[in-house]
């Protein structure tokens, strides 16, 4: 088994999309992230796992500067996307967030129609000149969100009327509509039941053909199922980062082994 060649895993290792160097994050005086270095590949699903409070969400939210909205949060280090520093003064977080989409733990569709939910991003960013263009973007995004078939007959029904799993896929379609390059997901399935979870996981797998996906998850099983790369955080440190199959069959660090086999007491 020394030949750990993956099937169905088209990882392209020389294509780094996001690169974090010597990153530290503080909330007031407490340090939530300690000297994390990580390279996230394009067209890959990267999962962040680790015990509660280890800093997964914090690190994820650094990548689209959602942490800016928290007063006491301070970020140190370099975050490069496509080689450009996203914390550079010249970068407007609004613009960054159009490029780095995000999907949240609880499905949060706007209380508007399905169409408007998806059209909102492109509209504010002025991505469509005509109604026809907008229609096209909406359809394409809903297709990418694997929900087009379920909603195409009721585009003008409210998005909040969908089931939990459908709502989450709608939120993914909404995030995708602004043509981001990176999709961040913070425990996107923790509010869903197993069936909806499986559907969203399937969708995530499809999305990686077009996006760089980073997903935070509490469920090791989920990380195992959806990701090609896994990062294990512990107490703010990045303990291990590697190919998911490797992490789950032969992790290098004893803390990783302890965590994934259910031994950290």
């Amino acid at each position: 088994m020394n030949d750990m060649r993956p099937l169905e895993r088209m990882v392209n290792t020389d294509n780094i999309k996001i690169s974090a160097r010597n990153c530290h994050v503080f909330y007031g005086d407490t340090q939530a992230i300690k000297d994390v270095n990580v390279d996230i590949e394009d067209h890959t699903v990267t999962a962040f796992i680790g015990p509660s409070g280890c800093g997964k969400s914090t690190f994820l939210r650094c990548l689209n500067r959602m942490n800016d909205t928290i007063d006491i949060c301070r970020v140190k280090g370099t975050f490069l996307i496509d080689g450009a520093d996203i914390y550079d003064k010249s970068v407007d977080p609004v613009q960054l967030r159009a490029k780095v989409g995000m999907v949240f733990q609880k499905p949060n569709p706007f209380p508007k129609s399905i169409y408007d939910n998806v059209a909102y991003g492109p509209k504010i960013h002025g991505m469509a000149r005509t109604k026809a263009e907008l229609d096209e973007i909406v359809e394409r995004s809903l297709r990418r969100g694997a929900i087009w078939n379920e909603v195409k007959d009721r585009l003008h029904a409210p998005g909040t009327g969908l089931s939990g799993g459908q709502q989450q896929r709608l939120c993914i379609a909404r995030a995708v509509a602004t043509n981001p390059e990176v999709l961040l997901m913070d425990e996107p399935c923790s509010a869903l039941d197993p069936i909806a979870t499986a559907q969203v996981e399937e969708l995530i797998d499809e999305l990686r053909a077009q996006f760089t996906v980073v997903i935070v998850t509490h469920s090791m099983q989920q990380a195992a199922r959806v990701s090609q790369k896994t990062a294990f955080f512990h107490l703010g440190n990045l303990v291990e980062f590697g190919e998911t199959g490797q992490i789950f069959t032969s992790p290098q660090d004893p803390r990783t082994e302890s965590y994934i086999t259910g031994r950290i007491g």
Partner: protein, 243 residues
Amino acid sequence: METHMTQEPHIARVFDRDLEAVQAIIMKMGGLVEDAILGASEALTARDEELAAKVRKNDAQIDALEDQVNTEAARVLALRAPAAGDLRTVLTVMKISANLERIGDYAKNMGKRTGVLAQMPAVDGTDGSLRRMAKAVQLMLKDVLDAYISRDAELAEDVRQRDREVDQMYNAIFREYLTHMLEDPRNITPCMHLHFIAKNIERMGDHVTSIAEQVIYLVTGEFPDEDRPKEDSTSFAGVDGTP
């Protein structure tokens, strides 16, 4: 009990792809092993050293595929935590690949012995039985692989029953070789090798039977009740070659 196999795809289609991929390796192995059996028996009949060498060489590929099956199976177990039918699929795949690997080994061993036999005088009228036996086993293998693909427990059961014939053929051959050896001491060395070859083919049949049992387990969730048919009675064969 056919109901056990739900043919719907998984919601996570990537899981289906993983399962298919690992089963594809099995099919590939199966093909290679069939070829090996045929090749080995042909090489034996024709005392074709070149072909025998090829069979020996190809075994490395089968071994590599077995490794790959194990790796992928472990991976699927670690990443997908399969249950019920899926779990049985993975477990079965591992067992089947082990069986195929062993069959491959036996074919390789035939190839090795063919090389030796080529340099010895032929023992009359022996090769036909061996070829028939090899053919029977190869057909059994083909059928059991079909049974696996189509999740056909009946066909697998049929294969399982056919092993009896192979065993009977082996018994006949054992006695025949014993006779040859007693007749003419010059036959002793080649007959020893032929003997081993026959034993190899008989073992191949056993491994195919084992695959058939795996297929039955995969489809029904249970192993066949009766003991596996075992008609190799040569261990009890007396001086005269009869049990």
